[in-house]
């Protein structure tokens, strides 16, 4: 138990103390981007790492989250925090719909189906300009701390908001594998046939994991909107899916903290070696290729971390 506490406390302490060391406002911005991108990677890890399928349309839920939040604020007049909740619920429902339909398929068919859904949503937002302002995008203001007048306009406060969410998502990731649902999911990943033989409903568990994943993606999107200030249909494009996949595979699919390493490599390293955005993508493409060829389990496997399944097994003394 002591060890588990430490596992939470040490990273949390690091997150809390970083702004004391990193005082350069530009670096703080990079850290916020790192936090939000890691949320996107965590959500994709649910599909790639736990369900074992590849979604090529995951950015759709990142973008839909941002749009649902912005649109409910605009048309229902609610504040940011209410819109956050509404957006998570709405995106979860869309995720349920997409997952319900597409998880009947496997492998390449699933990948193509998710891609098609993402393009459909992107084109809908782009073409329904009367409501969504199309390619012009919607500007989103920084929210205020609930029940106060303190704006989260300062990057420092926003940084703490983002990392509070990241820590919650990591804790959630850990906890879920102690529940029957989480164990069922691991059983499916290890062997679908065996899992169904002991009465685990495969499609239903996969859909549940898919919906959780879309909700986390929406969370990333809702936070990204006020941070970047403006959202466009581009948020639903293959570009962000590619970013997410890069981070998950580089970091280590199926590992608890894999997405965090992937997001770190993706956002923080380019700042050390300054490159143009195109050059960065070339380098990351090459890294991804080398990673698949020589280190398919990602950075986390290099650090000798245990996959989530084995944590559970160790806990149960098996």
């Amino acid at each position: 138990m002591m060890k588990t506490r430490l596992a939470y406390l040490v990273p949390s302490a690091i997150f809390l103390l970083i702004p004391l060391v990193v005082t350069n406002p530009y670096y703080l911005k990079i850290l916020i981007t790192f936090g939000i991108y890691s949320l996107l990677a965590f959500s994709l890890n649910f599909i790639v790492g736990y369900i074992g399928e590849i979604s090529f349309g995951h950015a759709a839920f990142f973008g839909l989250g941002a749009y649902f939040s912005a649109l409910t604020m605009e048309y229902l007049g609610v504040n940011f925090w209410v819109s956050l909740v509404l957006s998570l619920v709405l995106t979860g429902l869309v995720g349920l719909f997409v997952g319900f339909l597409s998880l009947r398929l496997k492998g390449v068919h699933f990948a193509i189906c998710t891609l098609a859904f993402a393009e459909i949503f992107r084109l809908l937002i782009l073409n329904l300009g009367d409501w969504t302002r199309g390619a012009m995008g919607i500007s989103v203001a920084r929210p205020k701390v609930p029940f106060t007048d303190i704006s989260l306009g300062s990057d420092l406060l926003f940084y703490y908001l983002v990392f509070a969410v990241v820590v919650i998502v990591i804790a959630f990731n850990r906890r879920i594998f102690a529940t029957p649902f989480g164990k069922a999911m691991l059983a499916i990943r290890e062997s679908g046939l065996l899992a169904s033989s002991i009465g685990i409903h495969i499609t239903r568990s996969k859909i549940a994991a898919f919906v959780i994943s879309t909700i986390i993606a929406a969370l990333a999107g809702v936070l990204y909107a006020p941070y970047i200030g403006i959202i466009t249909p581009n948020m639903l494009s293959v570009h962000y899916t590619a970013t997410g996949l890069l981070m998950v595979i580089l970091g280590g699919r199926g590992y608890l903290l894999g997405p965090l390493y992937g997001a770190f490599v993706f956002t923080v390293l380019p700042e050390i070696f300054w490159m143009s955005p195109e050059m960065q993508l070339v380098v990351f493409g090459l890294l991804l290729l080398l990673c698949i060829l020589f280190m398919p389990k990602g950075i986390a496997s290099l650090l000798q971390l245990r996959k989530l399944g084995s944590i559970i097994r160790a806990k149960n003394g098996g």
């Binding site: 009947r104 459909i120 050059m279 070339v282 290729l289």
Partner: protein, 286 residues
């Protein structure tokens, strides 16, 4: 109306060419090539380069472009896909995905994002039975049809074509019979890529070339291939026609902005209702 159908046919032919390449690569290597659209884009850019750097004629430039891209495709297959042949298919899928990111951005670094106009050699407008068409558009239809017909005959009667079909039907069986399966993979990948690049070379002069043009081409290729059945060559041809015509009709009914949506809705519908496609057969789990 007939003008609309003709335009649909031109687009459909280029989709068919892209999709036939995609379907051959899937049928034989078992890989869904996510970088397929990027070779369509490379075809257009290679042509642009040969025309502007050396000043070749369209046809000479086309030939040189095809040779260059065939060489690139051979190298890519040898270096990235061959080592992954035995691992999980999702890994090859991700590898082609990485390739697509690399190719798009390398082209963007070299040529910038500015749209490039590609000079065609056949720009005169001709009228056939009330339909107006540039010669280039006629070229698209004629050359695509000839290539696809030639390929069908090649697969049916030529020794190598027969070997390719054997591998697509049963990898293990082909290997047991002593077919050099790695060489067949390599040849099939190059053929598939060249088809995609040819589509880019043919369509290039009728539009602009941008580094991101491959993404949409790839998406359209998927729609066609799923529509016709993954792995089926006739399916890809018929699927291409259907999509090309559905899109042009869709854009005249609902407006140009909704054109691309038609294909994706069609794709999802086919995937969910009839996933083996029009000409597909149920594949064994491999």
């Amino acid at each position: 109306m007939s003008q609309l159908l003709f335009n649909g046919l031109v687009i459909g032919m280029s989709y068919a060419l892209i999709a036939v390449g995609l379907t051959i690569i899937f049928g034989i290597l078992g890989i869904v090539n996510f970088a397929h659209g990027e070779f369509y884009m490379l075809g257009a850019y290679a042509l642009f380069t040969f025309q502007n750097m050396i000043g070749t004629h369209y046809l000479v430039g086309a030939l040189l472009s095809i040779l260059t891209i065939a060489a690139i495709a051979f190298l890519i297959e040898y270096l990235t896909l061959r080592p992954l042949q035995k691992s999980d298919h999702l890994n090859s899928l991700l590898a082609t995905f990485a390739l697509s990111i690399i190719l798009t951005n390398v082209v963007q670094i070299i040529y910038t994002a500015t749209p490039r106009q590609i000079a065609g050699a056949f720009n005169q407008v001709v009228e056939i039975g009330g339909i107006f068409a540039t010669q280039q558009k006629l070229l698209v239809i004629i050359v695509s049809a000839l290539i696809i017909l030639g390929l069908a005959l090649f697969m049916k009667f030529h020794g190598l074509g027969k070997l390719m079909r054997a591998v697509s039907q049963n990898h293990m069986g082909a290997m047991v019979c002593g077919i050099p399966i790695k060489r067949i993979y390599s040849v099939s990948f190059v053929i598939g890529i060249v088809l995609s690049a040819t589509a880019g070379i043919l369509i290039g002069p009728t539009t602009y070339a941008t580094p991101t043009m491959g993404t949409l081409a790839m998406l359209k290729g998927f729609v066609v291939v799923i529509l016709g059945g993954l792995g089926s060559v006739p399916g890809a041809v018929v699927g291409g026609m259907i999509l090309g015509i559905a899109e042009t009709l869709g854009s005249s009914f609902f407006g140009n902005a909704w054109k691309d949506l038609v294909g994706f809705v069609l794709l999802v519908a086919v995937l969910l209702i009839y996933p083996q496609g029009l000409f597909g057969f149920k594949r064994r789990e491999q």
